[in-house]
Symmetry: C2
Subunit: 357 residues, 2 copies
């Protein structure tokens, strides 16, 4: 018996149904097949597929096109399946991050035959693992036209609040070098661990920026996330590596952020190991303003890095907005409020069913 | 065919013979059997054995008894066997550390039928590995009477110089604690790596003592030998551990050394993980003075920790004196000068063949 999704179910029941189809990163095929089948049954949508990513869209010739996106995968199941409902809360792996958002998008796809804006629905794979396997990244490289639009909503958990853009992130290794010696004759060596003192001084003295970008206040941070050094219990260490993580606001490009870190640690050996650009919130764009007025609430800055950055790189302003609770993501006790899912569906429907003013 | 040792060979040839009997720590049985057999053939010695450790001694009722000790084991062979001679140097695993010393002791045991002082020869196992398996430690606990004496010479490599006593060593972990948080919202956490700054400040500001003990100048050291901290690339670390190694002069007991480290890092979380006491050089003792005058040269302080500390704990003053080069120990290119072995044998013979003045 194939796994079928009934898009006429209410959104809470549909979320539970989707949660019960296991789809840990790299193992999304069964769920992707079910999503594709359900969408292909809707004659008002054109459906494309690339690997385990499905893209469906209306083509009504509207003045604006918006993109609604969500990932199908979850972190590994932690004894938290099948899902269960208790006191209006749906528990289970992926309920919050982010199958409730996926369920809302599927309900919208089925219900909105003639939306006021053309809509592209994107369901993608491998968001929870190494960035290079990310399905949205793959689509942005291989089929950027599938992702084209004036505005995008990534339905990651935001607790029903609009979170604009995202901060960028980069990691750098700062390497201190010394010279080995037997620790009984330590003065013949140069201690690389001791040499890390100025790095920690810089980090402790660092004052993070809180810049306002497109009306939202971001909050940067520069932190050591790891330190390691040591050869053996009787050897003066000849190397110490401090790994720092810089979270930067969207008024900086990745290159500008790297330049800032190089300047902060001027004179030290700095090597950048990875990085991902920030995304501007784009809330000043008319289509974003219409979205905000439809869904209500006060938008805030997204501080963590999310896939909105991939839309930003394609020139599509994007926000995070979803019914899940970001603080529960990746926890075995993960749950989502059924009321919040319904509320999110209602607000999104209200927005998409209206015509641009 | 059993492995036999011919103690009438010259000391260089005997060293080569012993080197060619592999005896990596824990695998000394073949060499220990050969040593026992060779010693049992000498009617002027009483021979005892415990595991792979052999103790042989004269019982002439002399006024003084001295102990000559050396370990039979080596670090793992590194493609440097069998031994070979080139330009007066004997190459191979254990040539320097310390089969040349063992060969000298065996030559003395065979040649000195009526030495001026009673002599105890100790050949023991497992010096190169974890302290708790050390054969000399086992003998000191199970047969302290076998090790009794007025003075001991440990024939570890000292390049033919007398090195008195040894410095003690202890290791302590200094743990800094913080609170985890996502690094995109770092201000919700407390960074334990950043908290290590004062530890490094203390280490960089520390001025090591150079105390004179029994006429020899020691040189202490307090160093970080390791640092580690970090949970993941996007998490504020909640723990950072700095491992420090304190090498202390023999005017301090292990307990006093621990108290010093606790005081240096006052207010921080300090846990002692291991330690071994120092040994006083004992060169002011008449028997030591006689030894020094017989072998010549200017004694110097032993800075590294050695098994002389085990003799010291039994109340036996002890020095390090051997033909090997300590800088070559544990290296694949290890060698020993054949001339230095002969010289060491001659000086030791001269000392032991004489009667106390």
């Amino acid at each position: 018996m194939s796994t079928r999704l009934d898009l006429t179910q209410d959104v809470g029941a549909l979320t539970a149904r989707i949660v019960d189809v296991e789809s840990v990163s790299g193992d999304e095929k069964v769920l992707a097949d079910a999503v594709e089948e359900a969408l292909r049954a809707l004659p008002h949508l054109r459906v494309d597929r690339d690997g385990e990513s499905i893209v469906a869209r209306t083509s009504l010739g509207r003045a604006e096109r918006v993109v609604i996106a969500g990932h199908l995968d979850t972190v590994p199941v932690a004894g938290n399946l099948p899902s269960r409902v208790e006191d209006g809360l749906l528990y289970g792996c992926g309920t919050s991050d982010m199958k409730s958002g996926v369920a809302v998008a599927l309900k919208l796809a089925a219900a909105l035959r003639e939306p006021g804006r053309d809509v592209t629905y994107v369901f993608y794979d491998c968001e929870e693992i190494a960035a290079e396997r990310n399905g949205l990244l793959r689509l942005s490289r291989d089929h950027p036209d599938w992702l084209a639009g004036d505005f995008a909503v990534l339905m990651e958990p935001t607790d029903g609040e609009v979170e604009g853009g995202c901060q960028g992130t980069l990691r750098a290794e700062i390497t201190l070098r010394g010279r080995r010696a037997h620790s009984a004759r330590s003065w013949f060596g140069v201690n690389a661990v001791h040499a890390a003192q100025p790095v920690l001084e810089i980090l402790n003295a660092y004052r993070a920026r809180l810049p306002v970008v497109d009306g939202l206040e971001y909050h940067e941070g520069l932190n050591a996330v790891a330190i390691r050094g040591g050869v053996a219990g009787n050897v003066i260490p000849d190397e110490c590596v401090v790994t720092v993580n810089y979270r930067f606001a969207p008024d900086l490009t990745l290159e500008a952020a790297q330049a800032h870190v190089s300047e902060v640690f001027d004179g030290l050996e700095v090597r950048f190991t990875d990085g991902a650009p920030a995304a501007r919130p784009g809330l000043t764009h008319p289509v974003a303003a219409a979205f905000l007025s439809a869904v209500g609430g006060t938008p805030r800055a997204k501080l963590g890095w999310t896939d909105v950055s991939l839309f930003s790189a394609l020139g599509v302003p994007a926000v995070n907005y979803g019914p899940g609770d970001p603080n529960l993501a990746h926890q075995s006790g993960e749950f989502v409020s059924l009321e919040k899912i319904t509320d999110c569906e209602r607000r999104m429907f209200h927005w998409l069913d209206s015509r641009p003013g």
